[in-house]
Amino acid sequence: MDIQRLITMANQIGDFYESYPDPAQAEQGIAEHINRFWALAMRQQIAQYVGQQAGVGLHVPVQKAIAAHLKI
């Protein structure tokens, strides 16, 4: 899928968790949401993007969440 589209979607999820005072909890929340609702191919694509392109364009907590907790 168009990676820009996935980046936008992931950042939107990140925005929701932005006001959570505990960053660890926010990262968990972001990753869990993606794990539960994104098809495997989409998760793999965004994970690969974080791995290879250093996640340019992704908000930092989103990058961290994907790197740390994504099920792929």
């Binding site: 899928m1 168009d2 589209r5 979607m9 939107q12 999820i13 925005d15 929701f16 932005e18 006001s19 959570y20 005072p21 949401h33 539960r36 609702f37 994104w38 098809a39 495997l40 191919a41 989409m42």
Partner: protein, 972 residues
């Protein structure tokens, strides 16, 4: 079913035994719990205090003659046919307006009463045409019945006196006729329009002999009348009557079924002659509608027999080819071979299915089963994706169940009603009538909507206490501001929160909303709403008694749709407004089976009953029941399918009853995706917009041609019953839609062994805890059932979360406002928002094929006079609307209903291309499209847009491919 009109708690079996739901009891039931005992014609009877003598008599099995009374309306006492004698009281009181009293002795049949009644009837009949034998309601006329009941034998006044027999008929309404010569001025119609419908379109004009019923100044069509049919229903004579009855005569049998339009889910009696529907009459025992209806369900069912219906299966290799009509067997086998070919070539993840909220529960269930068990993927989604998916997500997170918490009747106990982003009088008309009744009784009203919907100040005897006319896209900010007031002014119901909710989550939320940046003052500019108004509305909501929130697509169809739903739940929990009647969180669902299609597991991440596909127990359960290995990976959502299709990675789609080309955003993206697929199978009644891109067409059966169930916005499961054979009859055999899906499964090597839709419901009940006690037999017995229905609640659950939330403790979520990226700028300075109107339904495929086009034959754009003048636009001009997604041209309507800076349109006609301009922005949690906010520019133009011109050529060619003439295919 219940004797008591607005009692929503379930009546024990024995109290219902004496109630005959076919009888007209003359006056509404009393809600009093105190019993009064009296004697009527020497029979002793106990009835609730406040009951009329008329009702008490009929309950005792004694029929009192009546004309102006009917049990859906308050008594009026004008015809005086119902007079009785009461021992020890003087005169002859009307039994409809006289309440019972302890110990009184009533006589309903005496020589004197017979005399009075005959005299009254004589007067009526002397001014009434005596064409009974040729009258359309012959045999179904209360005047006729009463003439018989009072023993009228002669009319002493003769028929030559002054009379109304030459009055002219009003035939302006497409569905019913008004013949004043037959009117007895009982004013039942006037009262029905006021009390039942709440429109106040009819009046009795003139006095004495001159008095007559008048609709507006000219006729019904040009009046305020919304064609709900309540007056026709109430009329005891042939004065107001359905034109179909005039044409075909009085029906001979009747079958109870459910409206196939909106999420109110009204119950109707399909009144039939053989296999032909003569009229649809609202069922007075319908749990959602109590005998009321709107123009769609009552009258707009003619599409089912419209000539545009496609009734033979068709196939073709490419969308550039003509369609070939084939047998069912050939069509099914062709579809199956294509699916197998694509699976072999591209893999199972390149295939999927889409169901519709217009499908029955059983159809949705078998379709998702086909996709999961036979296609072997979880790529199944439903049109709730584009409407209420945020409701499912938001409510599951906060309160633990993806459904509204109340019954519709609950509104009768509300003191404060808050409507956010919904337009009930147009979208959910029958429920709106009930809500209006409560508002006329004095409930307070808060409306949050960018546009002045009718309830703001355009409904008789109703005026919103607060209209928070916020800017489109700022819902979350508004919810935060309201919550800020509740929290900082000490209006939280702490004991409720302590007992029922996760305290830690509450504290986090409280501290968040209490921040100064969430105050009404800080957000007033962003919202465009006066801070003081927000504060007052919040105080009213938190302290005004039972407060209920009703919301619609104006909440969900935003980039923060799910956040708003959670914010609404937060607000309801913090103020203790969940878990009893009169309160709650009430999503108003657009289409009839939005709730049901979600319940039935048509979301890519959930099995029926909202169990995640990765839940090992759920997976094991369904694998065992279905006998196939299942995937534990969430599948693709509709927009994901389309994105991948555009890249050539998604190839086969089975689309049942849904029209994604018209209803999904960014039309050109959708059609491009479809063009890239190799096998698009559409199952529908008509060659809809999506079918123009299809390779296989399975003709479906209309709701009159099949059995099944729909689940409405209050979780009410209601039966859909087959009243005629399916019209998709080829070679002597027609099929219900679930049978078509089962045949496809069979051709793919998987047996779906059902004999009847009820077998499918039995399987659903066996696999879904919340449906455990549901069966067709029980539906026959109870009429309808609100899930959860299980061993603890064998007759269903009207109000949810009473002692505890479904998830245990309610959970608060921080809902930070994140402005949408769809912002106005110099190029696109206006915001377009979309909605719907009463007479049309969704993409309009059905309603456009009925006489409802009398009210709405094209979509127009509402624009504020200020914005119009700036651009030299006058009322009725063609204007081009351009967004970053596309351009379309519509006619302008200047109105101050919309704010300056905002324009508004509907999407009922495909050629309008409203979704050519909507973008692919979507909700963060569910990808529900942001239909309600699109930045646009408008300008005067004098020709259609390129897209519209292309659409015209393309659709004409496609109709020709199906052997249809584009002009003839126009409506009626």
């Amino acid at each position: 079913m219940d004797d008591i009109k607005y009692n929503t708690s379930h009546q024990p079996e024995h109290s219902r035994t004496n109630y005959d739901d076919q009888l007209d009891y003359g006056t509404p039931a009393s809600l009093s719990s105190k019993q009064v005992t009296l004697s009527i014609d020497d029979r002793e009877i106990s009835v609730p205090e406040g009951t009329s003598i008329m009702r008490a008599s009929i309950m005792a099995g004694i029929n009192v003659p009546k004309l102006c009374a009917t049990d859906s309306l308050e008594p009026f006492g004008s015809c005086r046919l119902c007079v009785v004698e009461i021992e020890g009281r003087r005169g002859y009181p009307a039994s409809c307006t006289t309440p019972v009293a302890d110990g009184i002795k009533v006589h309903t049949q005496t020589a004197k009463l017979a005399d009075i009644r005959r005299g009254t009837m004589e007067l009526y009949i002397s001014d009434h045409p005596l064409d009974c034998l040729t009258c359309a309601t012959n045999g179904d006329c209360e005047l006729q019945d009463m003439a018989g009941a009072v023993g009228l034998r002669e009319v002493r006044y003769g028929y030559d006196g002054e009379n109304h027999l030459k009055s002219v008929k009003d035939e302006s309404n497409p569905y019913f006729s008004f013949d004043p010569s037959k009117c007895i001025v009982c004013s039942r119609c006037v009262r029905a329009c006021e009390e039942t419908q709440g429109t106040f379109a009819l009046t009795i004009s003139g006095r004495g002999f001159e008095s007559k019923v008048a609709a507006g100044v000219t006729n019904f069509l040009d009046s305020e009348c919304v064609s709900c049919g309540a007056c026709v229903q109430a009329c005891p004579t042939a004065t107001l009557i359905e034109k179909t009855v005039i044409d075909h005569g009085v029906p001979e049998h009747s079958v109870t079924t459910t409206c196939a339009y909106c999420g109110v889910g009204c119950s109707f009696n399909a009144e039939m002659k053989g296999e032909e529907v003569i009229r649809m009459v609202p069922n007075k025992n319908g749990g959602a509608n109590h005998g009321h209806s709107c123009v769609k369900g009552r009258f707009a069912w003619g599409y089912a027999t419209h000539q545009d219906r496609i009734t033979t299966p068709m196939i073709r290799k490419s969308i550039k080819d003509e369609w070939q009509s084939v047998s069912w067997e050939e069509a099914i086998n062709y579809a199956a071979s294509e699916i197998k070919r694509i699976e072999a070539k591209y893999g199972r993840d390149a295939m999927g299915g889409i169901t519709s909220s217009r499908c029955t529960n059983e159809e949705v269930y078998v379709t998702q089963k086909l996709v999961r068990a036979v296609f072997g993927t979880n790529n199944v989604d439903t049109c709730a994706r584009v409407c209420h998916s945020p409701t499912g997500y938001g409510l599951k997170q906060t309160i633990g169940e993806s459904a509204g918490t109340q019954t519709f009747d609950s509104v009768m106990k509300s003191d404060v009603i808050m409507i956010i982003g919904a337009n009930p009088t147009d979208g959910h008309p029958v429920f709106a009538s009930q809500m209006k009744r409560r508002l006329r009784e004095g409930a307070k009203l808060i409306i949050a909507d960018p546009r002045a919907i009718d309830l703001v100040e355009n409904s008789p005897h109703i005026r919103a206490d607060y209209h928070l006319n916020l800017r489109p896209g700022t819902n979350v900010a508004l919810i935060s501001a309201l919550a800020h007031v509740v929290v900082t002014e000490g209006l939280v119901k702490e004991d409720f929160v302590k007992e029922r909710c996760e305290w830690d989550s509450f504290v986090l939320w409280r501290d968040f909303v209490a921040k100064p940046e969430n105050s009404p003052e800080a957000l007033a500019d962003e919202l465009g709403v006066d801070a003081k108004k927000i504060r007052e509305a919040a105080r009213l909501f938190a302290t005004g008694g039972n407060a209920a929130i009703y919301y619609g697509l104006g909440v969900t169809e935003h980039s923060q749709g799910s956040t708003t739903v959670m914010g609404i739940a937060n607000l309801a929990m913090a103020t203790g407004n969940v878990g009893r009647e009169g309160v709650g969180i009430n999503p108003l669902r657009g289409q009839n089976n939005v709730q049901g299609s979600c319940d039935m597991g048509s979301m890519p991440h959930e099995y029926p009953g909202y169990r995640h596909v990765s839940d090992p127990a759920a997976k094991a359960l369904f694998e065992a029941a279905w006998g196939r290995p299942l995937s534990d990976e969430p599948g693709l959502r509709i927009p994901n399918m389309l994105d991948l299709a555009s890249e050539g990675r998604f190839k086969a789609l089975y689309c049942v009853g849904e029209d994604i080309v018209q209803s999904d955003p960014n039309t050109q993206h959708v059609t491009h995706a479809l063009e890239n697929m190799e096998c698009v199978i559409v199952q529908d009644l008509f060659l809809n917009e999506t079918a123009m891109y299809a390779h296989v067409f399975f003709p479906g059966a209309s709701f009159l041609e099949k059995s099944g169930t729909f689940t409405n916005a209050e979780r009410r499961i209601s039966p859909v019953r087959r009243v005629m054979a399916p019209k998709n009859n080829v070679g002597g055999q027609g099929y219900e839609d679930w049978e078509i899906t089962a045949m496809l499964a069979q051709a793919l090597g998987y047996k779906m062994d059902y004999q009847h839709a009820s077998d499918i419901m039995d399987e659903i009940a066996a696999l879904t805890p919340t449906f455990k006690g549901v069966s067709f037999a029980k539906l026959d017995q109870l009429g309808s059932i609100q899930w959860p229905c299980n061993d603890d609640y064998p007759t269903g659950t009207p109000t949810m979360h009473i002692d505890a939330f479904v998830r245990g403790k309610g959970k608060f979520f921080i809902t930070k406002y994140v402005p949408t990226t769809e912002r106005v700028n110099a190029k696109y300075p206006l915001i377009l928002t979309t909605g719907r109107i009463l007479s049309q339904y969704n993409v309009g495929a059905q309603t456009r094929r009925t006489k409802n086009i009398a009210w709405h034959h094209e979509d127009v754009v509402e624009i504020h006079p200020h914005d119009a003048t700036e651009r030299g636009i006058k009322d009725g001009d063609w204007i081009g609307i351009t967004s970053r997604a596309g351009e379309t041209v519509l006619r302008a309507q200047l109105t101050e209903r919309v704010q300056a800076g905002v324009i508004y349109t509907t999407f009922h006609h495909p050629e309008s291309g409203a979704n050519v301009i909507t973008t692919d922005n979507s909700d963060w949690a569910t990808n529900c499209p942001e239909f309600k906010v699109t930045a646009v520019q408008v300008s005067r133009v004098n020709q259609l847009s390129d897209w519209q011109l292309h659409y015209k050529t393309f659709s004409e060619a496609q109709l020709a491919f199906a052997g249809r003439d584009a002009e003839a295919a126009k409506i009626d």
